[in-house]
Symmetry: C2
Subunit: 96 residues, 2 copies
């Protein structure tokens, strides 16, 4: 199934910047970064649970926001992209 | 149907900052901002087409990225959120 992961991590301090990098690094192990804070991951149920636990252990739930969208198995027709495709380094630095 | 809209707009110049504000302002007319560059919009097919045309007329497809995810009508069980809910002003300024 395709699971879309979107996140907002507060980067007002060093700890937040580290959390942001860690979230991106974890997601890269499971899927494709499609936008700055958006990952598309093809996961089975157990992988989804594992990744969710890892990400929840990284973020600060009082400051950060983490969203999961389950698009199921037949997702090809549910996703549309327009515009440029950025290439990303896992550390969250946008290469332009 | 629930349509998720995610975008990355290049804000390296004034024009990009204006595009970012316009995209957010347009999306606010159709739905709920859930993260910095993520909107959840409840749309019928014609509204979806209309909004898509408007957003495509705003972004610069050589620099910006715009993604649509159709989660259908039975979306409640497909969406999970963890962490803080930021409140946003339509102009794209994150109020923290």
């Amino acid at each position: 199934m395709l699971v879309l992961i979107t996140y907002d991590v507060s980067t007002q301090d060093g700890a937040g910047k580290r959390r942001l990098r860690k979230v991106a690094k974890e997601c890269v192990n499971y899927g494709q970064r499609v936008q700055n804070s958006v990952f598309e991951c093809i996961l089975d149920a157990s992988q989804a649970l594992l990744l969710k636990d890892k990400l929840l252990s990284i973020i600060d739930e009082t400051q950060d926001s983490l969203r999961f969208y389950n698009l199921g198995n037949n997702y090809e027709t549910k996703v549309e992209h327009y515009g440029a495709k950025e290439s990303y380094k896992a550390e969250g630095v946008l290469m332009v």
